[in-house]
Symmetry: C2
Subunit: 398 residues, 2 copies
């Protein structure tokens, strides 16, 4: 049978493809510390479950395609905290941030067109774009620069007539980098001068540490007609299994166009939307506690990592990821080895090889991404196991 080129050229998700090996290790009684996936252990705000459990209709009906009006309204309210003012017809509820990204690409790019994306980037951007026959042109950023953007000239030199959008996550997954206001204005200028869309993936918006100022593209008036804001309850409220995301844009025509796609898939699940109304009503104090927790975790993991000989990493300032450069040739081989050939007292660590976060061949081969979504004790243990594993691995490879 013949498969489409778009699907055969997609690589398996690096975050998920090693899952079978982890399952085998678990079946063999090994405990795994999962630093490979952004599944937080923080409690989902109870209001979500309370609202779901209150549902008492006897028929689980469709909801309007744009989303549950109460949820759109609580999102509007939420955005005012960030001084962003969206009308109800400027927001669409989606099946997670994933569908929001897919629909944004569908609305802005035709096959063989391209988007600029700072690399390393969230590897599923590859899946969304490949499935639509859209190419990614990477803007390479480096660990040495804390994964901040190169200058305007460098970025502009990458643009060609088929470039339609700049897609970036801020704070960055997998880098943990929070872009400065200056960087945002530079990107805005480039977008305006080259008539590009800005697709701003802000699902980690709340996870910014060290008193850093966070700027959203949604607050830059000059580009409001070309900015598409992607959001999700997954990380923010530790509600990954709800699959509730959203698209917001001051460009009403864009929203009307994407609404057609929303109508095509009818609606987003009713119960999760009902529960998510309560999520977006969560008081800001929630984030102070959560942020403090993540900041401490980052410090625990980072402080252990830099103790490991040969490991290079910069302290990230946002999201809950760290990219670490290891003194190995092939980080994926090391990650697999940790699952199949190593354990310390029946425990091991699963990391995520970073090479698939890069579009440029060869980059990231010796890097891993670690998520600090476990409690401090576990993270500490995991870092020790990683250290011992790495030492043993290096010895074997000598």
């Amino acid at each position: 049978m013949k498969y489409s080129e778009r699907i055969t050229t997609i690589q398996s998700s690096p975050i998920r493809k090693l899952a079978p090996l982890a399952n085998i290790a678990k079946d063999n009684g090994i405990k795994i510390y999962h630093l490979n996936i952004g599944q937080p252990d923080i409690k989902t705000p109870k209001g979500f479950f309370d609202e779901v459990k209150k549902f008492d209709s006897e028929v689980l009906k469709y909801i309007d395609s744009p989303g549950l009006p109460e949820l759109i309204s609580s999102l509007q309210q939420y955005y005012t905290i960030y001084k962003m003012h969206f009308e109800s017809d400027e927001i669409l509820i989606t099946n997670g941030g994933s569908e929001a990204l897919l629909f944004s690409l569908m609305a802005t790019c035709d096959p063989k067109e391209n988007i600029l994306v700072p690399e390393p980037f969230y590897s599923n951007y590859n899946i969304f774009s490949r499935s639509l026959n859209v190419h990614i042109i990477p803007i390479t950023t480096k660990a040495e620069d804390g994964f901040h953007l190169p200058n305007k000239e460098k970025i502009q030199s990458l643009i060609n007539p088929k470039t339609k959008a700049i897609l970036l996550s801020n704070p960055g997954n997998p880098t943990g980098t929070v872009y400065t206001k200056k960087e945002l204005y530079m990107i805005s200028e480039i977008a305006k001068e080259n008539d590009l869309w800005i697709i701003s993936d802000e699902v980690y918006r709340e996870f910014v540490y060290d008193g850093l100022e966070y700027t959203s593209f949604g607050s830059i008036k000059e580009v409001e007609d070309r900015v598409i804001i992607i959001d999700s309850v997954s990380k923010k409220y530790s509600a990954c299994g709800a699959r509730i995301g959203s698209i917001a844009s001051k460009n009403k025509t864009l929203i009307a166009e994407i609404l057609k796609l929303c109508q095509g898939r009818l609606c987003v699940s009713t119960l999760n939307q009902i529960g998510s109304v309560e999520l977006y009503n969560t008081p800001l104090s929630y984030f102070m506690d959560v942020n403090n927790e993540y900041k401490n975790r980052r410090d625990v993991l980072y402080n252990e990592l830099i103790k490991i000989k040969g490991v290079i990493c910069k302290k990230p300032t946002g999201a809950f990821y760290i990219i670490a450069k290891l003194p190995v040739e092939n980080a994926e081989d090391f990650v697999i080895w940790m699952l199949t050939d190593f354990n310390k007292d029946g425990e091991t660590v699963m990391a995520c090889p970073a090479k698939d976060f890069y579009a440029t061949p060869g980059l990231g081969r010796n890097e891993i991404r670690l998520s600090y979504v476990l409690n401090e004790d576990d993270l500490h243990k995991a870092a020790i196991i990683l250290k011992e594993g790495l030492e043993k691995y290096l010895e074997l490879k000598k």
Copy 2:
């Protein structure tokens, strides 16, 4: 700003685009009988809600990308009723039948390729295919033939080197047609001889009346490597708001390819999968009652429709739709007029214009699709209102 061609060429969903007019009528105190949308009023099996309410984890986590193992297992069990035997790695859970269809098209067609679809067809097929730059070549079927398929030669004459799949719904939406075993074998032969995929949308599988035999493409051994079965809990269990669908195929390579897309969007919502395990465990006796109910409803609506002077329709044998040809020039104009200019004692009917279910320009302009998803009393009232509305409309147009 520049939008993609793929999105600007998508038409708004005919099922949903008139919703604002209905809302205005409702705001004016008019009661609307919704015969325009396939939202059943049948109770969702209680087990769904019971399971959801039993959920007691404090964190709403991601689930495996292919789907909740218990749900896949209950689907496997369910399919054995139809003598279809799928292994656990031959099923993927999706965000409704919609995502199952989108992913199936992504996996089988590249831009500028095409699929054959009997028309009239579920209009959202247009949205899925257009969003992927895939064309639909219609196989025209007619009310006079009960929307059954033309002969093999006619269908084969439509195939060209860029044809990759035949997509059809059985029982048919919007036709209510149940294909015969002979038709299925003819399509299977065509698919084999021309190396095409068969994407079989069987979400109305249980809704077959008058003792008719139902055959699934999943039971035809000769084409098992090229058949993709789409299913959904929406209609079957009156659980439209759950957004749980699935893809099943004996072609493991295909499933492995589509799994990459599933990994891209991480997972389907946790709670709805947990509830849906119970849905697929629903005893078959449930469908006997439900089917009996739908059969009676069909009879009520059909018997009233054929009494209306100038209306032409055949008695459908499956799903819960009827296509009726009206003695008007423009059925959409009539549908809108019913919402904006007509009511009988404060009540009116919303139908769905059928022209957008056709790909061939000009076809279906004088047809409407009616869903019999209301109870018999309401359906009866709705049919009377439709009759009086039509008579008044025809008088005005004289």
